[in-house]
Structure formats: structure tokens, C-alpha cells
Amino acid sequence: MIKDLVRLKSKGQNTAKEIVSFNNKKFRFSDWFAEKVIKAVAFLSIAIVILIFIFVFREAFPIFKMDKKEAVSTELLVQESYGGAETGSASVKTTDNQVDNSNKIQATDEKPSSTLLSKTWMPVSDNPRYGMWPLFLGTLKVTLIALLFAAPVSILAAIYTSMFAKPRIREIIKPVIELLAGFPSVVIGFFALMVMATVFQNIFGYASRLNGFVGGIAMGLAAIPIIYTLTEDALTAVPRTFTEASLGLGASRRQTAFYVVLPAAVPGIFAAVVLGIGRIFGETMIALMATGNAAMISMNPFDSVRTLSATIGAEMAEVVFGDTHYNVLFLIGSLLFIFTFALNALAEFYFKNMIIRRYQSKK
């Protein structure tokens, strides 16, 4: 055995010794290179966000430029009214002023950006109007309906899951509800279009089958898993000592849930709702399929509505690269982006800090 070891040692271990000297830093290319690549790639996420900013805004920007150069804007407008209404192609160059004199004068009065806040969304016409007011109102209406449905249901369900359910039931409820997050929105939209629209119409007896209410409820379905999961996390994150102290004082589970756990989790629940709003606000496919898509100003929840994101989804495919309508759609996109970005930042920084401060102050 010893001999064996000696033999093996002479054969097996003669090289390693000379390699090991540690008094000089060795340059290892693969390590250096891997680190550089990894760091560079990690920056990509930041780069993408910045690029989205730049490219979505860049395509929206010409709207504001046209204001300053009225002549150009007029000319463009004339072209577009042709393109949009008749051929669907901006490559048709029209500089024939005689024919379009009246049109041109009208167009000068109606610079595209000045119609942005008007009450009519009529992008495809001889005299296109890009009034986003009905779209804003529609989005707001649908978001409100969706939120009024999704937020209470998800928060209550989360309370049940984290406070009342037995551990074994909880293990079932959580993944089942999270399944909803895996449903593609086009499937939810299809369900809303085929089933919910009919069922609701039979119940409420309203006129238009597809409307803000159906769309809102359907979009609420998409937001439920987000609000539910984040609320459940927020409730579970409340230190056990809080719960135990309350139960120890003779409070019931219900009292503990509503007077101890829920107040402590409020910032987290707010963050959940805020992210839920972001999800509803940006939802496109369900809005396209279930809201009816008529851009009108109405406070009636059972009227058809057109949301900002659905407008992009419905019209971008038909629009001409680089024309005013195209730019306005990108402007809508920029607004959506800014809004969701702000919501995310709010949830991320404001509410997170609130959560941290809350637990620290109670320590």
C-alpha cells in the first residue's frame, strides 16, 4: 500500500507543485473576458428601457415639430387626408394646391396637435381629428370598472388564503389562482366576447353587447392574479409576532386580520393595486375584443368604449409609416409608457420605502 502510494505519487503529482506560486497576480483571460461580457450584457436591460423611451418618443415627436413649421405641416396634412381616406399610402405625393385649396385652409386651422385635446377621435377622414379625450375617458372608465371588480375580490381572496385557510387548502388555492396569470389575454378576451358579453346582456339587458362593463370585468380578470399574489405576499410578510401577540390577547382571527395584519400590510397592498392598475391600463387584446371599440364620450358603463392601448392595436396595422396618424399612435404609446413607468416607480420606491419604515419603526 505504501509502495503503491509512493509509485502513484511520483507519477501523479509532479506537475502541480511548480504551477503554484501566488506571489504574482496572474492574468486569466477567460475570467477577465467572462466578467466583461457578463457586465456588458447585464447593462442591456437598462439599454432596452432607454431605447424604448427613445424610439417610442422619437416616432411621436414629429407632431410637436409640425406646430412650429406650419407650412410643412399643412402640406403633410393634405397628403395624409388623401392617403388615409382613399389609398392608404402616403407615397402618393400631392402638391396640387388648386384642387385642395379649401381643404388646405381648413387644415391650417386644424393643426394635428391642436386637435389632440378635442372631443372627437376621427383619424381616418378628409379632416382627421385626433381628439384623445374620448380615449382617455374610455380608458379611465374601463380601468375603474376593472379595478372595482378585481381589487376587492383579489384582496379578500388573499386575506382568506393567508389568514383563514388551513395550510393544506392554502397549498391548493395559491397555485390554482396563479394559473389565471398563465391564461393568455387573447383567451380571456375570447371568453369575454363569447360568453360574458351574452350572459351580462341577458342579466342587465343593455343595448350594445360589447361595452365598457364587459371589457372592464374581463380586464379585471387579467389583473386578479397580480393583485392577489402581491397582496398575499404583503400579508405573509407581516411579522408573525404581530399575529401571535394579537391572538394571544384573545382577538379572533378576523379581528387579527383586520385590525393588525391588514393595517401593517397596507403599503404592500397599495403597491399590488398600483401594479394591477398598470396591467389593466396597458391591456390591449381584451380591450380590443370586448369593449366594442367606439370612441365616444359617455359616462354610461354599458356604452361601448375605446381605450388608448386598443386604439394603437386596432389602428397601427392600417396606418402609414410616418404620417400624422402614425405619430399620434406613438404619442399614445408614449403616454402609456410614461404612465406605467411612473406607476412602477411609485410601487417600487414609495411603497417599498413605506414598508421598510413601517416595520423598522415597530421593531
Binding site: P184, V187, R279, T284
Partner: protein
Amino acid sequence: MNRNVKDTIVEGITGVSVLLIIFIIVSILAVTIVGGWPNLNWTFLSEFPKDGMTKGGIFPAIVGTAMMTIIMAVAAVPFGVITAIYLAEYASEKSVIAKTIRFAVKTLAVVPSIIFGLFGLGFFIGFIGKNMDGLLNGGELKWGQPNILWASFTMALLTLPVVIVSVEEAIRTIPREMREASLALGATKWQTIRRVVLPGSVSGILTGTILAVSRGAGEVAPILFTGAAYFLSDLPRSLSDQFMSLGYHIYIMSTQSSNVDATLPIQFATTLVLLLLTFSLNAVAVTLRYRIRKRAK
């Protein structure tokens, strides 16, 4: 009111909320299965649409969805894995850079999918594609229009956070002792990552990939104007071809077709196929993730 009665009522209301959500989930599943099952057969899966899309199958939409998600995964997974490695292994938690990257990833996760569509149109098609045409094809239109490559890339951006989050979670479950063992043997940081951390994260990488594919297969808004086509009589042959997709097919058939009622069986069956696809992928991913989390405990 009596305290016990109040307790019961409140618990009841919260319980009903859970039941309501579960009822909705079950309804969606039931309606789709009942409506789609009778029409779901081999012919439906293997044929092209016929007679102005009122008959026939959805073969090109299945193939298109598969191709798009594969290209998407090829683009998103390496970037996602590397970013996750950076966040878990290289970045210190307090560094501004790491925090910024984390915030960017979260932003990507909440940006509405339609915005990715706009970005794909403005960046990939309008900027990269147009410039590629200018440089490579002498201005002839080839890349500067919607196609499967740009649609897949757009979808890759959307699913990047999914991959990053899954992989980072898996990397963090690898015990510190494993890294220390490797480093104490004189392995460099990169050798440790490559030989210990990555092999230990395979199931996490797989989970992330599956979740991303499932998400990508179901999303429609990003591909609306970056590459999805209404109808094609051929499968895509090159990256510059357009493609049909299951989700887009459902949308088109249920809202844009001239005779929606006549194609109802097709719509339901297509929805069932898409739901089965995303559902089974999710089920696999959830199982894998459950195992990873169990290992962490």
C-alpha cells in the same frame, strides 16, 4: 352583532371571493374545452385553413407560434441567464448599478405588451431593418417590414424579465458552501460559475425558458404589427417572412372575420389548442419551480 357571527360572515365573504375566482377559472376552462373539443382532431392540427379560412385547420399557426417562440427563446435565454448571473454573482446588493438594472428589469416586466409592439415597429423594423436594407440590399425592401425575426425579437424583450427572475431565483438556491468549496480548491470565480453554479441552475434555466415560451406563445399585442399575418398559404421559409400565430388567429377569427358565427368551432378549437399549450407548459414550469424551492429549504 355577536362576535362569532361577525367572524363567520367575514370569513365567509373572503372565502366566497376565492370561490368566485376559482369559478371563473373553471368556467374559462370548461367553456373552451366544451366548445373546442368536438373540432379538435388530427386534421384540424395538420391542415392549412381552407375556403377563405372558414374550413380546414390551423397547422401554419401552430408552426408559426412554435418557430416564433423558438427564435424568441434563443434570443432571450442567453441574455436572461447572463443578466441573472450578474445580479446573483457579480453585483453587490447595494451598488447603484445593480439597483438600476433591477429597476430596469422590473420596468420591462410591467411595460404594456403593446408598447413592445410599438418599439419593435419603431426600432427593429423602422430603424434596424430599414438601415439593413439600405446597407445590404441597396434600399430594396426586405428587412424593413414585419417578419418573424422582428416579431420574435420583440417578444424576446417582453419575456426577458421572466427568464431573469427564474434563473436568479435558482442561482440563489445554490448553497454558499458549494461556491466556497470550489473557490477553496483554487477555482476562479468564472470556473466556479461555469462548473458549479450553472450546472446547479439547469432546472431554473429550464423553468425560465418554459415560462418565457408559454408567455410568448400566448401574447398577441407585441406581434400585431411586427410580423403576424392574417393568412399565409405557405409556412415561413426565411427569417424575413411573416408568420401565422395561434393567438393572432383567435383574435382575427373572432373579431375581423366576415362571418364570425360560421367559424365558431374553429375559434373554440384554436383557443383550446392555445390554452392547452400554455397550460401544459406552465404546469411543467410550476412543478420544476416547486422542486427548486423545496431544495432551497
